[in-house]
């Protein structure tokens, strides 16, 4: 069984207990000679591609099939259905025709006991195996609160209070010394006048303010158009963590054009359907999110068929990584020729529940890599001569993109 992720650890414990508990019952209730656990394993490896328990897929639903057919017939059918049909068995023929003449894959390797185990599993109460519906934990995302204003106000108040206290203290001391008394604000004014009179202090003050202002402006300026951390809400709660992380699906399985073209490409819904024709229910969001693919492409999960004349709808994915128009970037250059991992720029996507922009995608960031990254020239005939010439020119075997002219403006800006 697939490991559940940490978020549902507690659920998992419940689940394991309940399954184990139900097994005890099921074993005692259905006194069949099949091993349900083994049956489930066999079912998942051999049958699940075409059969479901309750629903028609490519083949018929298998729930309670043992009650409909006798063991001997089932053994024959499963090991070689074609033979059974050829022998003229009426039932076999009827099923074959009902399911659009698609022959069932023969399983001559399954022993009688194996088949009995599978039957035991198909007969077992499905409730025992159904996970408790995972409650979707809605995490309220609060905006990160900044308390700058409050802090500043508090500091000012404290400073004011302190000066007042000090003033009070001073006046008390003055009183003790019987000196002439001045009001608090008069004192403050006098002090400010003193400050302004002293050029050194004034200049320092102005310098600090203006340099500070410039720095703040610079910081703001260089951040314009830098969307690091951008994480838009997508139309389908697609989890890269589940697909790329847990299931270890290769990035380029879905983003195949990254190898060959400028863009990595957003997979079309039919790529989703390669798997989701069969996987109709997920572990985190159940059927809800997958149903959105079906809605877009026009697929009926109940019958596992595509709807005829369905007006397909686009899935309006929100683009996360977007370079400005004046820069040219090509995925295949980096993925195929440069042999870079996707993660180099996109970060730990396999850990991202929801995708966000990991890198700043600034020119500085590009150039840093072009300055340091060694070009993988070995085995590529294009570089054969160039490598030789450049090695001689720079006196090193380790050649960077920059050494090949990769820092010229026109290499990316045209």
């Amino acid at each position: 069984m697939k490991e559940l992720n940490n978020r549902y650890n507690s659920l998992r414990v419940h689940f394991v207990f309940s399954v184990a508990f139900s097994f005890l019952f099921s074993l005692s209730i259905f006194a069949q000679d099949g091993d349900i656990n083994n049956g489930k394993k066999l079912f998942n490896t051999n049958c699940a591609a075409c059969h479901k328990l309750e629903q028609r897929l490519i083949g018929p639903p298998l729930k309670g099939v043992a009650a409909k057919r006798n063991q001997e017939w089932l053994n024959k059918w499963i090991r070689n259905s074609a033979e059974l049909i050829a022998s003229g068995d009426a039932d076999a023929k009827a099923i074959f025709e009902e399911y659009s003449n698609i022959p069932m894959t023969p399983f001559p390797n399954l022993s009688d006991q194996d088949i009995a185990d599978i039957m035991a599993y198909t007969d077992a109460d499905p409730a025992l195996f159904q996970k408790k519906k995972a409650e979707v934990v809605v995490v309220e995302v609060k905006p990160i609160q900044t308390y700058y204003t409050e802090v500043i106000i508090a500091v000012i108040i404290i400073v004011l209070l302190l000066t007042m206290v000090l003033f009070k203290l001073k006046s008390t001391l003055n009183n003790l010394n019987r000196e002439e008394q001045k009001g608090y604000f008069d004192e403050l004014k006098a002090y400010l006048a003193y400050l302004v009179k002293d050029n050194a202090i004034l200049i320092t003050f102005v310098l600090v303010i203006s340099l500070g202002g410039l720095y703040a402006f610079w910081e703001w300026g260089v951040g314009v158009g830098v969307d690091k951390g951008y994480q838009p809400i997508q139309p389908i709660a697609f989890s890269h963590k589940v697909h790329a992380g847990d299931q270890e699906i290769d990035c380029e399985y879905c983003h195949s054009s990254a190898r060959t073209s400028k863009t990595s490409g957003i997979p079309s819904a039919n790529v989703c359907m390669n798997c989701h024709k069969l996987i109709q229910e997920g572990e985190t969001t159940g059927k809800k999110e997958i149903a959105k693919i079906y809605d877009a492409i026009g697929f009926d999960p109940a019958t596992s068929t595509y709807k005829k004349d369905y007006v397909q709808k686009p899935i309006k994915w929100v683009r996360v990584h977007n370079l400005p128009d004046f820069v040219y970037y090509n995925h295949s250059q980096h993925v195929t020729v440069g042999q870079q991992e996707c993660q180099t720029c996109h970060g730990p996507v396999e850990e991202m529940e929801e995708l966000y922009q990991y890198s700043p995608l600034t020119m500085e960031w590009c150039v840093d890599c072009h300055r340091t990254e060694e070009v993988k020239m070995a085995g590529n005939d294009y570089y054969k001569e160039i490598h030789e010439q450049l090695s001689k020119k720079y006196g090193t075997e380790k050649l960077t993109v920059a050494m090949m002219g990769g820092l010229e403006c026109g290499k990316c800006h045209y």
């Binding site: 060959t260 400028k262 400005p324 128009d325 004046f326 820069v327 040219y328 090509n330 295949s332 250059q333 195929t336 020729v337 085995g379 590529n380 005939d381 294009y382 570089y383 054969k384 001569e385 160039i386 010439q389 450049l390 020119k393 090949m404 002219g405 010229e408 403006c409 026109g410 290499k411 800006h413 045209y414």
Partner: protein
């Protein structure tokens, strides 16, 4: 009613349609007709086609009014022509043009004779009489002695001689073909007929008659616009009223669609399936490159539907190919043909039998068609950009300066300087340099048009020229409704109009002319020499090395460096060579560059302010009667003398020699623009490209001021999505043609030719991906791949096998303004004229 389609499967559909509805008839209509040539071939060989002309085989080409570099008989002859004009071979073809307007072909000719249209007929009959020995009567011409010499030359050339005519008269074409047959010319092949033209003038006129007499029940027009382009369009419209069902299949609600009952939007050819057979036994296939943008259906599908067929045109075409075309070649399959795009059956030319023709009658009727008259004679022509006006909605073509007049956004009456002087008509430049001109009222046979006059060197005295294809009023954007419609003058599909009178009228016209100076003022901006000198003299005599005096003595410019030279030894280093002998000035490269690089269209007003954005222009220079040598002879010296000399140098000859020189960024290795940019927005690349980082440019325009070639363009406005510039960048469909690999430049930045860096980089990437060396095929720039005559060669000079090596080491090589010391990466090849020696 269809245009020329030369599509075997479409013909098949129409044949099936006629089978189903036996009273249906197809009428082929070409707005600008080539029916004379078709009729002539039919008269001689019984097949309505054209002979296959191969100009590469010809050593002496005599063209009588045929602009074969323009769109004579469908065009496509420049490649062969340029091949024959390669002076590397022992012999270079000699091209003699006898014509009225200065055409593209005339501009390329070695000898050009300016004659009136009425003289063209006599000239052809004279050549026929001398060469075949079958003397026919003709009126004397102004070039009789020259004609004798030309005939002699043709006879000497024998089967390497070629005579063609630009007339749309059947008899003229018979005469020309008969001359070629007498010469046994290898350049004219009748055994491989060409089918690119189908238009039948008689059938069109018959249709109009039938419509008016109520014999036509339904008319379906497809991709033709007779209401706009027929001289007797009023008759056509009158006849339409008697036709109960009228259906227009058109992409636009054009003039014709407006008056038809039903408009069925047809598709763009990029949305269509299609096939073609231009030459006997040579097929090509077209597949859609985009799904239909709108709810439309292609013409052939309409016909199939109306026949009650369930088949779509794609499957119909496949069936037709399987049954009739693929079966003719062993091993040919549909998939292979579709992959290749072409299928050539290796057919041997089949010599058709020659029919007897009464040549006396032919010569007589040829002379009759066009009689000399007291008034002026007018030749209607098509501009290289606009053609017959079908594509008037294309802003690229509107903005394309005509190769000869260098004027865009207009048509105008071309007139010789002598004539203009007599009539008191002038052209002048206003304070910002823009050209203005007088207007005249033109009258001919009941047609009156008010037109501007453009004074054109090379225009025959006593004649006028006027371009068709302008003056569209429906189905095009307002900005594209330019010029005047000249089709009312195109009576009987005859481009020569006699007895034209003109009178100057009030008002002045504003031209959009991009060139202010028309002669080279005796400087060698363009290097040229004659074939005789090229063959017999040392390179230093006709293409001397450019040298300058330095403190070290006189040194060739190539050896002088003020700055440290760029290292271009590692990786590719690109060079472009332009052979001025092969360049015909056709301007295909200008449009290709426009399309590839998202160059904005700026409109007439901005062009007048010299703010046109073309990254690549083709400079056209005329020869002048005055030069420094002549001035010396005439004793023009001193201050007044030399001022007089320079004034005269500015005036082009009455019948000038013409040179075309495409100029784009020269990608100097010592670029003057790079050193003056205050923000380093323009910099030098290791591949030889002068790069322009638009997002860095702050628009000081120092670079443009410092560029000796004047190739930098400044974005005075934001040209995309701007209502003031309502061209292709202002609507969603127009923007679909933009190249996604090239930035759209914003207001306030400089731009210029990038040597198609997006293509070189993509080519390098594909070589890297395949793990192989870079090849020429990977990196062809827009201009070099569009060049129909292979005048532009682009390649990597660090690659010994690159095609650029030949021009790089050619004696004809020169650099533009080499003495400036910019060391360009663009080179030119000296133009050679094959003058009679």
């Amino acid at each position: 009613m269809t245009p020329s389609m030369f599509s075997p499967s479409t013909s098949e559909v129409i044949a099936k349609f006629v089978e189903k509805y036996p009273t249906a008839k197809q009428v082929s209509y070409d707005a600008v007709s080539s029916a004379g040539a078709l009729d002539a071939f039919e008269a001689l060989y019984g097949n309505r086609a054209l002979p296959l002309y191969n100009f590469a085989e010809a050593r002496t080409i005599v063209s009588i009014g045929a602009d074969f570099i323009g769109d004579w008989l469908g065009g496509g002859y420049e490649k062969g022509y340029a091949l024959g004009r390669n002076p590397k071979q022992d012999q270079m073809s000699r091209h003699i043009q006898i014509e009225t307007n200065l055409s593209l072909a005339g501009a390329n000719a070695d000898d050009r004779y300016a004659v009136k249209p009425s003289e063209q007929t006599s000239a052809l009959i004279a050549l026929y009489s001398i060469i075949t020995g079958d003397s026919q009567i003709f009126k004397p011409t102004s070039i009789d002695p020259q004609l004798k010499a030309i005939a002699k030359e043709l006879k000497k050339a024998g089967n390497k001689g070629l005579v063609i005519t630009g007339s749309n008269d059947k008899n003229m074409h018979i005469l020309a073909m008969k001359i070629n047959l007498a010469l046994q010319s290898k350049a004219m092949c009748v055994g491989k007929p060409v089918y690119v033209k189908e238009g039948n003038d008689k059938a069109v006129q018959q249709l109009i008659q039938d419509m008016n007499s109520g014999k036509v029940g339904a008319l379906v027009t497809y991709n033709v616009n007779p209401v706009y382009s027929l001289a007797n369009s009023a008759e056509f419209v009158k006849g339409l009223k008697k036709v109960s069902t009228t259906v227009a299949l058109s992409q636009f609600t054009d003039e014709t669609a407006k008056v038809m009952t039903y408009n069925l939007p047809s598709q763009h050819s990029l949305e269509n399936w299609g096939d073609a057979m231009a030459v006997e036994g040579e097929y090509s296939l077209m597949q859609p490159t985009i799904r239909p943008l709108y709810d439309t259906r292609q013409f052939q599908d309409d016909l199939l539907k109306w026949m009650g067929s369930d088949q779509d045109f794609y499957s119909f075409m496949r069936e037709n190919w399987d049954n009739n075309i693929l079966s003719a070649k062993a091993g040919a399959t549909w998939n292979q043909a579709l992959h290749d795009g072409v299928l050539k059956l290796s057919l041997d030319p089949v010599m058709p039998t020659l029919n007897e023709v009464d040549m006396i009658g032919v010569a007589k009727s040829a002379s009759k068609v066009f009689k000399a008259s007291k008034g002026l004679e007018l030749e209607l022509y098509m501009k290289a950009g606009m053609g017959n006006g079908e594509m008037a909605n294309n802003p690229w073509l509107q903005e394309l300066p005509d190769p000869i007049t260098r004027t865009a956004w207009d048509n105008y009456l071309t007139m010789s300087a002598k004539q203009a002087k007599e009539l008191g008509i002038t052209n002048w430049n206003v304070s910002n340099g823009a050209l203005n001109g007088d207007k005249v009222e033109l009258k001919s046979d009941g047609v009156t048009i008010i037109l501007p006059v453009f004074i054109q060197p090379g225009q025959t005295y006593g004649t006028l020229g006027l371009a068709l294809g302008y003056g569209r009023s429906e189905g095009v954007k307002d900005a594209m409704m330019t010029g005047v419609n000249a089709y009312p003058l195109y009576k009987g599909f005859n481009k020569y109009v006699s007895n034209v009178t003109i009178a100057k009228v009030e008002g002045e016209h504003e031209f959009a002319c991009v060139q202010l100076h028309h002669t080279m003022m005796d400087r060698d901006v363009v290097q040229e020499t004659t074939f005789d000198i090229f063959k017999n003299k040392d390179k230093e005599d006709w293409n001397p090395m450019v040298a300058l005096a330095t403190h070290d003595g006189v040194k060739p410019v190539s050896k002088i460096d003020i700055w440290e030279a760029h290292d271009s030894s590692v990786g590719p280093h690109f060079n472009l060579s332009i052979d001025l002998n092969a360049c015909t000035g056709c301007a295909a490269c200008v449009v290709a560059c426009h399309a590839e690089n998202n160059v904005p269209v700026v409109g007439k007003e901005e062009v007048r302010k010299s703010r046109d954005m073309h990254w690549l222009r083709i400079d056209r220079y005329y020869s002048s009667d005055m030069n420094k040598e002549k001035a010396k002879e005439e004793g023009l010296s001193g201050v007044t003398g030399s001022i007089d000399m320079y004034h005269q140098m500015e005036v082009a000859s009455a019948n000038p020699e013409v040179v075309f020189q495409p100029v784009m960024c020269q990608h100097c290795n010592h670029a003057p623009c790079e050193t003056v940019c205050p923000v380093a927005a323009t910099s030098h690349g290791s591949q030889g490209q002068n790069q322009m980082a638009y997002n860095r440019c702050v628009g000081t325009r120092y670079c443009a001021n410092n560029c000796p070639y004047k190739v930098r363009r400044f974005n005075w406005f934001q040209y995309n999505g701007n209502e003031e510039f309502d061209y292709h960048m202002n609507d969603e469909v127009g923007r679909m043609v933009l190249n996604p690999d090239v930035t759209i430049r914003d207001r306030g930045v400089m731009e210029k030719c990038s040597m198609c860096i997006q293509i070189t980089q993509a080519g390098i990437l594909s070589a890297k991906k395949d793990g192989r060396k870079l090849e020429d095929m990977d990196i062809q720039t827009a201009c070099s791949s569009a060049c129909p005559s292979d005048a532009m060669v682009f390649g990597n000079i660090n690659d010994e096998s690159s095609a650029i090596q030949t021009p790089l080491h050619d004696d004809r090589k020169y650099y533009l303004l080499e003495s400036v010391g910019t060391k360009p990466n663009v080179m030119y090849q000296t133009k050679i004229r094959n003058k009679n020696s």
